[in-house]
Structures are given as C-alpha cells and as structure tokens.
C-alpha cells in the first residue's frame, strides 16, 4: 500500500512537477511547459458560458438557425481562446534572477529575467507577494521584471513562490504556473539604532602609523574605481600606463576605523553584528576608511560603496 502510494507520488512528481513538488525549489532556468501550466475559466468566463448557454437554448427553442450559428461561432471562439491562453505562457522561460541589497526589515529589489519562445507573449502577469507586474514579449526579446520582496532577518533568505499568470486573450480563461526558483538573496543585518563609537587605537600607535598630519600628499597609488576624480594626479598619470591617484594623510580624528569582532566580547553575537553594521554605516556615511575583522573573514582597510557592500555581506553571512 505504502509502496503504491510512493510510486504514485513519484509518478506524479515526474509528470506534474509544479503541482506536487511546488515546495521544492528548482534550479534556473525554469521553462514553462504543458506539465506545469494550469488553466481554469475565470469568473467572467463562467458568466460568459452561462450567457452562451442561454443563447443556445433560446436559439434552439425558437428554431432560429442564424442565432444558433452565431452562438456556435462565439462558443468556438471562446473555446479556442483557451488554446491561445495556454500558448501565451507555454515556452516562457525565467532565465536569471538578480537581487539588490537591503537591510533586514526593508524591502529588497528582485529582478527577474524572462525570455520568450520566439513568438509573441502578451498580457503576462508576474505576481509575488501581492505585487503584480504585467509585461509583453515579442520574438527572442528579453525582459526584466522588477519586484520587491519583504525581508525579516539578516542572512540568506529564499525567494517566495512566484506566480506567472495571464487571462490573455479575452479574459475568459485564467492560466497560471508557479515558479519556485532555487535562489536565495542575502539580507544585510540591521544596524543598531544607537550606541558608543568604536574604540580607537592608542595614541602612540597612531603617532607611529601616521608620521605626518594634514592634507599633505603622502604617496601615489593606482587608481581604483570609486576614487574621487579630483585626487587623480593627471600630470603624473600622463607618463604612466594607468591613472595614478594622490594619497593624502588622514587628518587627525579621521583615522582608519579598525573594527574588530574581538573587541566586543561583552556582547552576544547578534548585538555585535548590529553594532559593527552601524559602525560600518557611519564610516561609509562619513567617507572614512575602515577595516573589519571577523572570525571567518578579514577585510582590509578600504572606503567607498564596494567596500561597504563587502563588509555588510560578510556580516550578513555570519553564522
């Protein structure tokens, strides 16, 4: 008995993947095909059917062949709209998903890439967590659909089920399919609201590390994306292959923040993460360089948006 059931379930999962296996995520790309496209009449479709039936009975009762012919024509068109409805989803493919960044609690942007089957797909709606976005596709065109997803806590968060549906062409039938991509997005930790500034290194060390103060030119280094253009040493760069950037000594009080997991021993790990997140955010806001030491990652000192993202990603990934 149990064997039979298991066999039946295996068969059903093989034949109707999105009906039984919808809880299991599947890898991209996901292509919609006949085994995972469902179709039922919409409310309007049911009403239209009733109307057609009334017209049929009327035509038969009055032996009115012209009305009967027209009723049959309308009925046949309605029935064939079901096939068109199926074809509007058939062959549609979700090729890739990109996600934006968001701290826990804020919505995160999800970008879905769809590609068609070389013909026209119109009136297709993508629905995720009660947001709907409609699009049309023509030929081999690719299309991006931007949706946002609510986040709750830091770390990897799986995408919810996505519904692709359509009532094309006449709104008589509703055809849909579930997409459950095997894809997770990284949610950043929420910084604590308020707290102490980071413990700065001792003055001696500072003196030793920073022999001179002020905005004086200290050295030249290679250009990295994100460096302010006014720091580019144009004259020197002209004699070299790449661009060179003037590096200035930090003025006092704008030293590197060397943020360290180990300095916050008195806190539990989530509090440590949210405090570090706040410091990183403050450093980024102030344009201050910072470095971050975590048990499984050591991020050297840096500045700018890519550095901020790298630190936040590392914090988000903490166990």
């Amino acid at each position: 008995m149990r064997d039979t059931y298991a066999r039946l379930q295996r068969w059903a999962e093989r034949k109707l993947p999105s009906l039984t296996r919808y809880r299991r995520a599947e890898p991209l790309p996901i292509r919609l095909h006949r085994r995972r496209i469902y179709i039922v009449p919409s409310f309007f479709g049911i009403g239209f059917c009733v109307l057609l039936f009334v017209m049929l009975i009327g035509a038969l009762n009055y032996a009115n062949n012209a009305a009967l012919l027209l009723t049959c024509l309308l009925g046949a068109a309605a029935a064939s709209s079901m096939l068109v409805a199926f074809r509007s989803l058939n062959g549609l493919q979700l090729t890739s998903i990109q996600s934006g960044h968001a701290i826990a609690g804020a919505p995160i942007q999800i970008r879905l890439h769809f590609v068609g089957q070389g013909r026209t797909h119109q009136g297709i709606r993508v629905e995720m967590e009660s947001q709907t976005h409609a699009f049309a596709l023509q030929g081999d065109e690719k299309i991006r659909v931007d949706l946002s997803m609510a986040t709750f806590e830091r770390g990897w968060q799986a995408l919810p089920r996505i519904k692709v549906w359509s009532t094309w062409p006449f709104g008589l039938f509703r055809t849909w399919s579930w997409l459950y991509p095997d894809q997770t997005v990284l949610v950043w930790p929420r910084p604590e609201a308020a707290g102490p500034p980071p413990n700065l290194p001792s003055d001696d060390e500072e003196q030793r590390r920073q022999p001179r103060r002020g905005d004086d030119l200290a050295a030249l280094r290679d250009y990295h994306p994100g460096d302010p253009t006014r720091h580019i040493a144009w004259k020197v760069s002209a004699r070299h292959h790449g661009l060179l950037v003037k590096e200035f000594e930090q003025p006092h009080g704008r030293r590197d923040w060397q943020l360290d997991w180990r300095q916050l021993k008195h806190l539990d790990s989530e509090s440590r993460i949210s405090r570090l997140a706040r410091w990183i955010g403050e450093a980024e806001a102030a344009g201050r360089a910072s470095s971050l030491w975590l048990p499984d990652e050591d991020i050297p000192s840096g500045r700018g948006r890519p550095h901020y993202e790298r630190c936040m990603n590392a914090l988000a990934r903490m166990p």
């Binding site: 017209m55 032996a63 062949n65 012209a66 046949a76 068109a77 029935a79 096939l83 119109q122």
Partner: protein, 656 residues
C-alpha cells in the same frame, strides 16, 4: 447645467481609451442592427447619448452620476412601456436591451464594466436575429462580434501597441479559425423536437397570399419582387403552363370577398397519372399554408392535407422552410361530388351582379347541359379583345363583377378568376377559385425555379362529371403570355425593373446564394438533422446519437487544437537535433546537461558516470566536436554516421 462625473474608485482596473472606443463601436453596431424595429425617437435619443458619452469621455473619464443615471433608466422603462405596452415580449425586450446597453456605457469606467457590457452586447446582437434571419443580417451580426471580441482583448494589460484598425485582425483570424468547429457544432447540436416555451408572434404583417381574396387585393403583391419560394425538381422541370402552385382553395363568396370553406373534410379523392417530385424552400410568409404544384399526391411531413388537397401547416411559416412534395401533373380530382359540396360550389349571394347572372343563365339556355360549351363561351368572352390585363384597374362598385364584365373591362388574374367562377356558378356549374403562384423564373445557374411574390395568381376550377375538378385559367384567355412568360413579362406598365442583363445576372447569382442560405442554414431542421447520419448507415439519428457525434467531433477538434498549441518549431540543424536526442537519452538516466555546460564537458561527465560506455561516449563526443568545429559544413556521410550512432546509443545505468 454642469454635470459632475464621479471619479472612479482606486481599486478597480481603469478602462483605457482604446478599450472604451471599441466598446462604443460595439454598442453602436448593436444599435444599428436593431434600428429596423425600434421607434425612431428612441434610436435618436440613444444615438445622441452614445455620441455624447463618447465625446465626453475623450476629455475626462468618470461615471455618470446617479442623479442622471436613475432618471434615464426610469425614462427608458416608461418610454418602452408607453410605446409597446409592456417591458417584455420580443420588440419591447429588444428595445429594453439596447437601451440598457447604452445606459451601461454611461457608467462603464472599469474593465469589469466593459466586460459585462461586451457580454451583454453579444446577447443583444443575437436578439437582432429574432427579427430577421436573413443572410445579410446574420453576416452583419457576425461582423459586430469583431469589435466585441476586440474590446475584450483590449482590456488585457501589457499588450503590444496596435493601431485601431489592426485591432480587428487577430480577432478576425481567431473567428475564422473557429469557424470549422462552429459549423460542426451547428450541424450536430441536437435540435429540440418541440419548443420549450412559446415561439414569438410573427413579425409585422408581410405582403403575401392570404386566405381571403377580393378582386384588386393582389395589386400590391404583383409589384413585389421578393422571392416567395424556390423549387428544384427531381428530373426535368415541367413546362411553364403546368407550373400552377396551389395555396388556397376558395369556396365562399359574399359578393365582395372570396374565402375558404371552413368545413373540415377528408382530402378529396385523387387519381394520379404523371407524378413529379420536387423540393420547395419556402420563404417565411406568415401564412399557414405550403404551396404545392397541382395536385399534390402526398403531403410533406411539415404539413397535412386540407379538404381540397391544399397543404396546411400547423402554424404560420415564420422561418424559411424546406419540404418535398410529389404532385400529379395529370389527374382526376374528386370524380364524385357529394350534394353538400355541390351546393357549396354553386352558392352565390343574393342580390349581387344581376347582369352577370343573367348572362350566365342565357348561356345555360343556349348550351343546355354542355358544360364544356358554357366554359368555352366564358373564355371566349374574355378572349374577344375587349378585356385588358392591367395591374392598375379602375375601381369597382357594389356589383363588382357587373362593373368589371360590362363596363371597365380591365383587371388582372383575381378579376378574371372571380368573374369566371361566378359566371360558372350562375350557369349551374360547380366552380371555385384557387389562389397560389404560377410560373416562376428558371434559374439555370442554380437549377431551380424561383417563384416571386409577383408570381401570385388566381384561377378557377370547374367540376365536370367524370373528370372531376378541371383547372381553367381565364387570365390565359386574356393574356396567354402571362402564363407562358410569367407575370413580369406582362407588367409592361411598370417598365423594365431590372435594367440591364448583367444586373439581372447579378440578381440571379445573389438569389442562388440566398437560396443556399435558406436551404442550407435556415432550413436545417430537426428532420434534416435526423437524416444526417444516413450516409454512415445510421438511420434516424436521435438526440443521443447526435450528442455522441458532437462529443466525438469536439474531441477531434480539441486534439487538432492541442496539436497546434503544443507544436514547436522543429530543430532545423540536423547535428543540433542529433545532439539534443543524445541529451534527451542521457537525461533519462539523470545526466542532465546544465545550461552553461559545453558539449565536451557534458559528455566527459557522462562518460565518467557510465564507465562501461565510456568509449562510445568519448567517440560520440569527438565526432560531434569534429563535425561542429572542424568543418564549415558537416560532411553528409559523417553526419549520418553520427546520427546513426546516436540512434543506436542506449544508456545503461551502472548496477552497483
């Protein structure tokens, strides 16, 4: 007065301009199709409302406020009740439906409103067919389905932009593709053997034959070119002088009108000699009679014989009807005349037409019992040149036949038939008037006889001992060409009504199409449906068998449709197709090619997973890479070898 249109609530899908325009067009089409039977003031008001609403919404969207909508609704109801007497019934119902539809447009602001209005338009379109099932109207109704379906299509979000005219093209394609299924369903849907509820009363009075006749009645009819019926013969058509189609037999004369005998009797006895079989497709005429050639031997299933072998239908013919009849061209009808019938066949009202009666009595004295002699005398009277055939005779007084025979001398078939019969009766010979059609136009293109309303005719029948009722056509005595050439040839005072020959040809072609429509579509009755399956060996297909046929056919159509829906472009590159086949085989044992995986990596991975088929797979991989990358155009023999190898490859899972 400034009218504030209510802004629509947020949560509803708004109605786009294009969808609204299409909806307006649909409703305008409905209005146009109903224009024929709506009161003109209602049409004007509705058109004005429609145009006003459309114009208004171009500037600003918004619903009509309730203080405007409700009074309009009330006004509509009151107007319909005052002009039709009721809100229900066919005419009033149609007017109400069209009015409500226009009012619905006033408040259509969301996609839902537009859907409801479109569905209701489809219904209102169908009701137009209750008034007229003609081919042109049906075609126009079908045409109005285009904007209706285009409206539904325009309500969908995210469509590719289309120009207004191109909106109809996809819908037209779809309707055209659904036509085979529609035709099949039309043929196979089981018809009701009896109506579930009463059929609507007939449309407005049509001109046509009637069961009463008074001289001068036909004048309007004889100018009417509309087809009355079309007759196709099994075998050669009979000559023109035998083409008499009897409809009514009139016995009673009250000095002015001729009327039918209302005494129910058995059909008169008939000895038939030369029979001919033919099909008649009758246009709707609102009369409960089926004209048949003199004299029908057996009644068609749609009607039954009256006492004088006229075929009576159970109800007035309001829809096109096709029936088959067998008639005798040479016959003896009612050889024995009983006393009651003889009395009725001699009945004359007292105090009318004294001169006519005197003339007849003088013939009687002159010829004695020689019936044929008296008949010849009467026909000679009409033939002697004084009488003139015209469709516009002078009006007649109280003693109508005296006036006609002795003073005006002009008239058409009714006058002659009436005068002839009265003369015979006055001379003591049983006689009666028969009305129907005579002649017709032979359409050699469609191989049928077209009988128009203008071919309506009246003639006399005289009972002769031993011969029964014998037809005498006094009109033929006046104008033999009326009988030989048909009514239109004699109607010279109307001039040529179809100018040139090509126009006449066009008319005949058009008539063939109309006949096809009447016979093939409108005349497709429950009886013809039952005979539908006889070529397949199934006699008398009842509703159950037809239902089966319908179900089978629908499944067949569904399969064709599904094949189309699931059809995918075949891979045209043979090498790619062979590779896909190999991938499919390997995927069967869970070695699935990843989207980013190249052929070399994939087949190497497959070879690792299937160690005992490693050699085969590596050979396949090498030859694929060779074919794909070493040549511009893969050599055919190598390609076919590769395809052969793929075909023979059977992946076998390693048993551990």
């Amino acid at each position: 007065m400034k009218i504030v249109w209510r802004r629509e609530p947020r949560h509803e899908e708004p109605l786009e301009r294009r969808a609204f325009d299409l909806l307006t067009l649909t409703i305008a089409g409905v209005l146009l199709l109903h224009i024929g039977h709506l009161p003109i003031w209602l049409v004007l008001v509705l058109v004005l409302l429609l145009v006003w609403r459309w114009y208004k919404r171009r500037e600003r969207s918004g619903r009509a406020p309730a203080y405007l909508k409700l009074p309009l609704l009330g006004l509509l109801a009151v107007a319909i009740v005052t002009s039709y007497g009721s809100l229900f019934g066919r005419e009033a119902g149609a007017a109400l439906a069209v009015g409500l539809l226009v009012l619905k447009l006033m408040e259509s602001e969301s996609a839902r409103d537009a859907r409801v209005a479109t569905a209701f338009s489809c219904f209102a379109l169908m009701t137009a067919l209750l008034f007229d099932q003609g081919m042109v109207i049906t075609f126009l109704v079908a045409l109005c389905l285009l904007p209706a379906l285009a409206t539904l299509r325009a309500l969908e979000p995210a469509r590719l932009p289309l120009s207004f005219r191109r909106e109809f093209l996809p819908v037209l394609t779809m309707l055209a593709l659904s036509l085979p299924l529609a035709l099949f369903a039309f043929v196979a849907v089981p018809r009701l053997s009896s109506p579930l509820w009463g059929a609507p009363p007939s449309a407005q009075a049509r001109t046509g034959l009637s069961d009463r006749m008074s001289p001068g009645d036909f004048a309007e009819l004889l100018n009417d070119d509309r087809p009355a019926m079309r007759v196709s013969f099994d075998g050669p058509p009979p000559p023109n002088n035998l083409r008499y189609f009897r409809a009514y037999v009139m016995w009673r004369y009250d000095g002015r009108d001729w009327g039918r005998s209302d005494v129910p009797r058995e059909p008169a006895a008939l000895t038939a000699e030369r029979t001919i079989r033919y099909q008649v497709s009758l246009e709707p005429n609102g009369q409960a009679v089926l004209p048949a050639m003199d004299v029908p031997v057996e009644a068609p299933s749609q009607g039954q014989f009256g006492g004088d072998r006229e075929i009576v239908a159970p109800r007035p013919v309001n829809d096109a009807l096709t029936y088959s009849v067998t008639s005798a061209l040479a016959y003896r009808l009612q050889p024995e005349l009983d006393d009651r019938s003889r009395r009725r066949a001699l009945q004359l009202p007292g105090g009318y037409n004294p001169k006519t009666l005197a003339l007849a009595r003088s013939w009687r004295q002159q010829h004695g019992d020689d019936t044929a002699g008296i008949v010849r005398e009467a026909l000679n009277l009409f033939h002697n040149g004084v009488f003139r055939y015209t469709l516009g005779p002078a009006p007649l007084g109280r003693d109508a036949m005296d006036d006609f025979l002795f003073s005006t001398h002009e008239g058409f078939c009714e006058h002659y038939a009436s005068a002839f019969t009265i003369l015979m009766r006055a001379a003591g010979i049983p006689a009666r008037v028969v009305t129907g059609y005579q002649g017709g136009y032979w359409n050699s293109l469609g191989n049928y006889l077209l009988v128009r309303q203008s071919d309506a005719h009246a003639w006399g029948e005289v009972w002769m001992a031993g011969r029964g009722w014998v037809r005498f056509d006094p009109t033929a005595a006046v104008r033999p060409d009326r009988i030989d050439l048909g009514a239109s040839a004699v109607a010279d005072d109307r001039g040529e009504w179809f100018g040139s020959s090509w126009l006449r040809d066009a008319r005949n072609h058009w008539d063939v199409v109309n006949r096809w429509w009447n016979q093939g579509v409108l005349g497709f009755s429950a009886i013809r449906q039952r005979g539908l399956l006889s070529p397949l060996g199934i006699k008398d297909a009842d509703a159950e068998k037809l239902g089966l046929v319908l179900a089978f056919g629908c499944v067949l159509f569904a399969m064709i449709g599904l094949a189309w829906a699931l059809w995918r472009q075949r891979e045209t590159d043979p090498l790619r197709a062979a590779m896909m086949r190999l991938e499919h085989k390997l995927a069967g044992i869970d070695i699935v090619r990843r989207p980013s995986e190249g052929p070399q990596h994939y087949l190497t991975r497959a070879a690792r997973a299937l160690p005992h088929q490693r050699d085969t797979l590596e050979r396949l991989m090498r030859s694929y890479l060779d074919l794909r990358y070493a040549h511009d155009e893969p050599p055919p023999e190598l390609l076919s070898a590769f395809r052969q190898a793929v075909r023979e490859f059977r992946p076998r899972r390693v048993v551990k």
